[in-house]
């Protein structure tokens, strides 16, 4: 096990440098044949000191260093540090996600416990589930009249379904023998819900939570591109409008790393409640 882990690490680093190498080679400045024609370049707006074309790894490194050295600067609405933007996005995701959790788990419990409720609500869930959360945006903007809260709503609506469905499934699939044990011990309904059904269904519920956090983090970028103002999604869109690809690439990397961390976090929670049978 150990030598393989080591080898895998070495390979990972190798691939990383290979990618960097390819990137570096493919963005080498082209030999400028028409270098003399500065007049023409100026006319085309290409000599204003802005980096030309796709950024090289070196330029990228500099940008990353610059951004990370001061992630929380704030120079007006269109120029904020990556830290501030991330904080806005994470705040929206957290708010929407926890609202969804508060609604989905009790409702999922009820649906999982009652076949009647399951059948009655299933058509609604099936129709609402496949709707792209962004399709709700106009409705949200119109009714809520606040772009930031509309973002929260979109996160809410996209993260509720996996949690709801998984909770209902997990609760419905609790083994009969455990319920029989609870029955023969005359366990009160609330105690049964918290001490038998919840721990039995917890791994499934956490699976739903893990899917939800992934979707929420995917959706927040798109939602913020749409409503603008603040957030990592807006940052990406704003830097695209500035034609600052270094910042766009930097933001993409940050989105990936943060998404990974969120998944890791819920994954750890999931491990904690999973039981060996």
């Amino acid at each position: 096990m150990k030598p393989r882990t080591l080898l895998a690490g070495v390979l990972s680093i190798g691939f990383f440098f290979l990618l960097l190498g390819i990137w570096h080679l493919s963005t080498l400045p082209k030999a400028k044949g028409a270098a003399a024609d500065t007049e023409y370049s100026k006319l085309m707006g290409k000599s204003s000191g802005k980096p030309e074309g796709f950024p090289t790894p070196a330029q990228m490194g500099e940008a990353v260093k610059r951004q990370l050295s001061d992630p929380f600067y704030d120079r007006g609405p269109n120029d904020k540090g990556i830290g501030i933007q991330l904080a806005h996005s994470l705040g929206r995701v957290a708010a929407g996600y926890f609202l969804a959790l508060i609604v989905a788990v009790p409702l999922g419990f009820a649906i999982g416990m009652s076949p009647l409720l399951y059948q009655a609500l299933n058509p609604f869930i099936q129709v609402l589930k496949p709707i792209s959360p962004l399709a709700w945006m106009p409705i949200a903007l119109y009714t809520i009249k606040d772009s930031s809260i509309s973002g929260v709503f979109v996160i809410f609506i996209c993260s509720i379904w996996p949690m709801l469905i998984n909770t209902a499934f997990g609760v419905g699939a609790v083994r009969r023998e455990w319920l029989d044990v609870a029955k023969t011990l005359e366990v009160k309904p609330l105690r049964k819900a918290f001490l038998v059904i919840l721990p039995a269904a917890a791994p499934t519920i956490l699976t739903g939570m893990r899917i939800s956090i992934g979707i929420a983090w995917l959706v927040i970028v798109a939602a913020e591109m749409l409503v603008g103002g603040t957030g990592i999604g807006y940052f990406v869109w704003n830097e695209w409008n500035n034609l600052n690809l270094t910042h766009v690439i930097f933001a993409i990397l940050v989105i990936g790393v943060v998404g990974m961390l969120l998944d890791f976090l819920i994954g750890r929670l999931q491990q904690a409640v999973t039981y060996a049978d």
Binding site: E177, W178, D180, V181, K183, T184, L185, E186, V187, R191, L195, V196, P199, A200, A202, V273, Y275, A276, D277
Partner: protein, 276 residues
């Protein structure tokens, strides 16, 4: 008035009956085994006694009260141990104990649980999860959990069915000891004739389903205490065993045959014959 009275019990699905006219009594402190082929409704009868299932017809009266729904007065040991895998051995038993005596504090619960863990020989495994235990150990936890709530009656649904012969013997001995010490009233399902002879005071034989009946109730005349290792030297052992096996092989036919009368068979006279 017997401690447990079952009369006219029937379970039907539509027009077909699993069993009909099941009636028997159990006295306090008695150990009764029920033996029969698969599908004759043994587990259904046990579930009805436990209050987990309802009969289509008939009544069950325990301690002068009609059985309607599950109760802490009847402890159940399930076929698959039915332990909660996220709880340790101690917590599994504590869950039952806290259900029985909600007013107890943590120390009281723990002391009580420890007593029953020691009783089934699981000392040292208190904090293990069920997944870390062998099949026999899991079933011991199930037994400890059922005994720990001090039920008026214990219902065992083929508790040793999934165990290897060696483990089974050891746990049978332990069960025998605990029952003798606690004078527990027990109703147990088994497929194993030797197990029934070792443990039971009376053995109920069921005819095969559908439409099963209790064919005979056989008194176990072997002297107590019985020992698994020496029991088969007793002259009555093979007579009793042959009678039971013979029933299962030849006479437990489905549908009602004339020799299935529901009468109580007493092997006492036969023994005298043998000795003479």
């Amino acid at each position: 008035m017997s401690f447990l009275q079952v009369s006219g019990l029937a379970k039907r699905y539509g027009r077909s009956a699993v069993f009909e006219e099941v009636g028997f009594t159990i006295e306090k402190g008695e150990f009764v085994c029920i033996v029969g082929h698969s599908g004759c409704g043994k587990t259904t009868i046990l579930n009805i006694l436990a209050g987990l299932d309802s009969a289509s017809d008939g009544t069950v009266v325990m301690d002068n009260r009609e059985v309607a729904g599950p109760s802490l007065d009847r402890g159940v040991v399930f076929q698959g141990h039915a332990l909660m895998p996220w709880l340790s051995v101690m917590s599994n038993i504590a869950f039952a104990v806290k259900s029985r005596w909600p007013e107890w504090n943590r120390i009281q619960v723990q002391v009580h649980c420890q007593k029953f863990i020691d009783l089934v020989g699981l000392t040292g495994a208190e904090h293990k999860k069920p997944s870390q235990l062998s099949g026999g150990m899991k079933q011991r936890v199930g037994i400890a959990r059922a005994f720990a709530i001090k039920p008026k009656m214990l219902l065992l649904d083929e508790p040793f069915g999934a165990l290897d012969a060696l483990t089974r013997g050891v746990i049978q001995d332990e069960l025998l000891k605990i029952c003798a010490a606690t004078k527990q009233t027990v109703f147990m399902i088994t497929h194993d004739v030797d197990e029934a002879i070792l443990l039971a005071d009376r053995i109920m034989l069921m005819s095969a389903g559908p439409d099963a009946r209790i064919a005979e109730i056989v008194d176990n005349t072997l002297d107590k205490p019985r020992d698994r290792h020496t029991m088969h030297h007793d002259k009555q052992f093979y007579r009793l065993r042959n009678h039971l096996v013979d029933f299962l092989v030849n006479r437990a036919r489905p549908l009602i045959s004339p020799d299935i009368t529901g009468k109580i068979v007493n092997l006492e006279p036969l023994r005298r014959q043998h000795e003479a």
